[in-house]
Amino acid sequence: MKFALFLGCNIPARLNQYESSARAVLKKVDVDLVDIKEFNCCGYPVRNLDHKAFVLASARNLALAAKKNLNVISLCKCCYGSLKKADHLMKENASLRAEINKILNKEGLQYDGDIEVKHFLSVLFHEVGVETLKKKIEKTFTDLNIATHYGCHVLRPSKVVQFDDPVAPSIFDKLVEVTGAKSIDWSMKLDCCGAPLWGVNDDLSMNLTEKKLENGKKAGADYLCTACPYCQMQFDTVQNTILSIRGTNHQLPSLLYPQLLGLSLGIERELLGLKMNSLPIEGIEDFFTEQKAMEA
């Protein structure tokens, strides 16, 4: 199994632990990754201002992967949503396709919808499979309550992104439960993290994040779990800011899915970058089954 790894802009700059942990996990389950140095921004940040600029940026990435005949794996849900949307438009809208390809042709690129875009979680669930993951598990968790945060841009618009059932998704929960942790039910599971408005309307963004954190905490979560740099930074870095500005006391630390799975797969702590999160998550190791047994 081979994919072109699409890291996007945030992960290499601000969330190295996501890259290193995801690479380590994928290596463990025999997914080969190819790095394409020429990849650019997925276009998501400019979608508010210019539709064509957004499609062009995404389509250029797709064209680069298509040139190497590789499907794309994205770690970011906003990148995923953008690449999927552009892929959809390039397939459906002939005049837009012609317009975009005309620009891409200038550097010898072309995209005609010939590859697939997958998210990290869907590769683990559909391509690798829960059974394979279970076989590789070295350590399990006990009594660990995880609140999965799906992220908007993989779920909706479902017709375009085709990740999971948009109303009752289950992929992420099943992946979390591979580790022995319990994926709890919580009412705001499918809501937005607030990141799209961070830097644009900070009060609103913080309100949304806080509401969600409170909801997760009330539902009994020990940790939030994410698989998107925007969501993770919102629940980690921005939550840290919220805690200091607003002095709220319902702290709910968040960790990245490959960090959680990596611990279960016995991957080195260094690669998982547990220490790189803003809010401490190392306490999660107290939930290892053997640790619990010793305590008992």
Binding site: N40, N48, L49, L56, R156, W198, V200, L208
Partner: protein
Amino acid sequence: MFFSISLYVALAIFGFGLVYKASTWFRYNIGIEAGKFSAPTRVFKAILGIASILFSEKILTLIKVFVIDVVLQVRILRQDFLRWLMHICIYLGFMLLLLMHALENFISEPLFTDYYSTVNPFMFLRDLFGFMVIIGIGIAIFRRFILKVPRLKTNAMDHYAIIILAVIMISGVFLEATKITSHTEFQFMVEDYAGLSAEDDADEIKVLESYWVKEYGVVSPNVKKPFDKELLDQGKESHEMNCAECHSRPHWAFLGYGTAKIISPVALGLDRTNMPTILWYLHFLACWIGLAYLPFSKMFHIFVSPLSLLANAVMEKGKSEPANIATRQAMELDACTHCCTCTLNCSAAVFFEIFPNTNILPSEKIISIKALAAGKELSEPELRHLQEGIYLCTNCYRCTVVCPVGINLQDLWFNVRESLLKKGYPEFFALSPLSFYRGLMKEDGDGDNYQKPLDQTREAIADRCELMKMPDKVLPLSDIDSAFKGTLNRSDQANTFSGCFGCETCTTVCPVVASYDNPREVLGLLPHQIMNACGLGLKDLALGSNMLWDCLTCYQCQELCPQGVCVTDILYELKNEAVQQVREKSLMERTL
């Protein structure tokens, strides 16, 4: 005489240039912090900072960086082998030529007692070094002018650098070639070095000349090929006695000798017009021009790029003295070689294909920032284009990671962005996820200035929408813009608003609407009302709501709409439309 005077003039300009340019590093203020320190403070802090580094274990880091990045230029190698080859050829070749050939009186002669520029290995090495530079220039021309790399920009300064180097090298090679063929030069050497006189030793000179014409490439008006063997044997004898010790075979000077062969049919004419002297003037004057103009040209990077690499290796934002960071940031502008590595790796450079603003490309942004730092009065459109170019950055740090001279471009963009935003022009890209980074960096910014650009931009957009200012008015039909519906055609789904039957599901499920007790007051129109406004062609209402900019794009509304209205996509469409209207107009008005 002329040689010395012109050299001293060039050296004086060069020296003045160095001092002047270095002084700008302490005088120029870039960004929000820099103005806090006076120039003398910055000089003092710099000396202190350098001393504290030199006497700490960080000296090891400096040595490592000097070897790996300055001498071996591994940063360029990581990018592209061809570019590394190009630069190493030019830099190594030119440096060695400078040391061995240009400064022969000061370096080669004292160092090697048997040094003569006409004797091997020096004769061969001079051409080898020259050859390296010419190969490098060749690759540079190929890369800049033939291999049309998208978004690689070439400006006047890049042309100058290639031209001045090319003139120095080509005049040097031709000078060598005309000297090889020159009969005058031969006569001069016979008299001065061999000590033969034209009257007394006419016969010996004739055999020697024949030998040199045959073997050394001299073009003579007196003797003609073919020569008989006896004559040549005599000539060889005389040559070995008089010349061989101080003059290797010119074949070793392969560039000059090859050129000499090519020009030999016209060599006599060239010699009569005194071409070697003309070329000598051209050669050294080109060198002096290069020298005098060096501090003001991109060649200044020879000195500043190593400084930038070394400074960035031991300095860190938040830890190093802010005054020194301000100085470093001004210095870095001189370190830039306009190699465009940043642009070629930029995550956002692709947007330049849509927005014709060269400031989107990092290599061009830095040119505008240079002008800004030098205190040049930029017009409002220029400032706004720079602001937009800097804002249209995904803050992926790639430019900083790849810069071959180690400039911390990320910090530079951040600082200039904040200082430009202070000027009060609306920035439409601020109302996008590009602001996420600015939010994370809030602490490092200028607290009072954080919210203002966001508010100003929203106001600039709302200002265009007259109807929004009259919330209680009964809307006359005359405000309906029947063409408006037609303009919403960017994406396929944009016209689905006509399916809206006002069930308000979109508004009910919207997490933003749910966040407010008084959503109408804060957000203006709510999602279902915006869909209605589109249907009615009430352009102002559709484009003027805060709702557009507070939309999370979480797609709840679109997913749940029973009528298949693509609400989120329509909101995207309206945002595009609103910005396009205002962006163009406000830019033009300010220009007027």
